[in-house]
Symmetry: C2
Subunit: 236 residues, 2 copies
DNA sequence: CGCCACGTGATTGTCGACAATATTTAATCG
DNA sequence: CGATTAAATATTGTCGACAATCACGTGGCG
């Protein structure tokens, strides 16, 4: 487990709202890969790093647990959650139905602002695809989805998806450079954009297309995972 | 906020696993309506009731928060979550797509045991409907759904649905006596059962029917809520 | 050599006390 | 009398200490 010296200094640790600040700091640390999967987050270590007592640390663990980033095992400790191929397989179908629903609900109460934001994101996806800028393509891709999710207006749905997407995002840390089939991906999003813009789109069709788009991602993701594993094995 | 004397005595409070025990006790207390919505759960009160220190209490709050039963507001306190009509409206679409997916996945890897369990539950639903035993009809209805949810094999999906269903169940405390249209409800479940049993069911059709069944419940539920509100207003 | 008992260090679990913040009540002024 | 401020009370936030449990290594025994 690496230290968090850089983050530590950036944060004001006057003793109020320690749990909030600490939760944010640790969330970032996990998302950025400073805390690696399987790592035990020992209270004493964090206590030393942040010079705070264990009470807020323990509470922060529960907050991170809610976000699905760590696993609190009573009388054993708190560990950064590992993601197995099985988790991936379980994740995508769930997320696909939820994002499908979000798309449908977003279409139902769509307003100009998010629509324009999506178009801008889509334009940047196009540019990134042409330049084969994988990292940026991903960033815009994520943004595109986030916009219509936020626009769906269903707070429960928004929160669920935020959590789910964050969980997988963290694993994507290294994933941001994986080679997406830009052309195919872009065409799909172009089609989705078209459906959002049109006045007489069948909401169920929009939902189905978004859902399928995400369901199909599971294969690519698992393939990538496999590749990484082999890479790891060969360098040993 | 009522006291928990009865529960208190039933629980062994030797200081190990206090958080687990306390979380369970408080979960039940909320589900059973001992803690009412909007109630502030003050640490001192619970401390006195259970004769334990505040540390495990505070951690338990975070556990309950994860289950969606309370709301932790920093520097204000912890409150039993209120459920608004809007929450209901947001809840049902989400749950419907998830249970639809669960049904589809359950059908894909269905085995005899859960199938039989569902048939038994369905049979008891029939009896309860004939006797107009609302409470028992509800119980069996819930069980019926739980069986195929558990059978879907997707642990993420199972956990999400368990949480969602629990949140609404708590509000159902009084709801167990609301008058369901037994005949219509029973017929739907008979149809679902038939689709689960058949070897050549279209999984998407099964999914759609389950989804629709739940989507339609939102109206009844809101109507019930409204009725309760009026009742409350009139008795004042 | 393998395996179990046991002790030792590491880690989590709980506690009571004090500090900081929020809420209520009381007092003051216009 | 109402509004504003100030004191008091209630409640949450954090801390350091001690207790219980777990993980690991060591030594004895078959």
């Amino acid at each position: 487990m690496k230290t968090l010296t850089s983050k530590l200094k950036a944060i004001d640790f006057r003793p109020t709202g320690l749990v909030e600040k600490l939760s944010e700091a640790m969330t970032e640390a996990i998302l950025e890969g400073i805390f690696k999967e399987g790592d035990q987050l020992t209270e004493l270590d964090l206590q030393k790093q942040f010079s705070i007592s264990r009470s807020p640390i323990r509470e922060s663990f529960r907050v991170l647990e809610k976000r699905g980033l760590v696993e609190v095992i009573p009388r054993k400790g708190t560990f950064v959650k590992r993601i197995s191929p099985r988790d991936i397989e379980e994740h995508f179908p769930v997320r696909s139905v939820l994002e499908g629903l979000a798309a449908k609900q977003a279409y139902a109460n769509m307003s100009p602002a998010p629509l324009e934001a999506m178009e801008r994101a889509l334009a940047r996806m196009k540019t990134a695809a042409e330049n084969e800028d994988t990292k940026n393509y991903w960033k815009q891709h994520i943004l595109f989805h986030e916009i219509f999710i936020d626009a769906c207006g269903n707070q429960l749905l928004i929160n669920l998806l935020k959590t789910l997407r964050m969980q997988i995002m963290w694993y994507r840390l290294s994933y941001q450079y994986y080679k997406e089939d830009f052309k195919s991906s872009y065409r799909t999003h172009e089609k989705i954009m078209g459906l959002f813009k049109s006045k007489n789109t069948d909401p169920d069709r929009l939902e189905a297309i978004v859902r399928t788009h995400i369901e199909e991602a599971v294969g690519k993701f698992l393939g990538y995972l496999d590749e990484q594993e082999k890479l790891k094995a060969s360098t040993k």
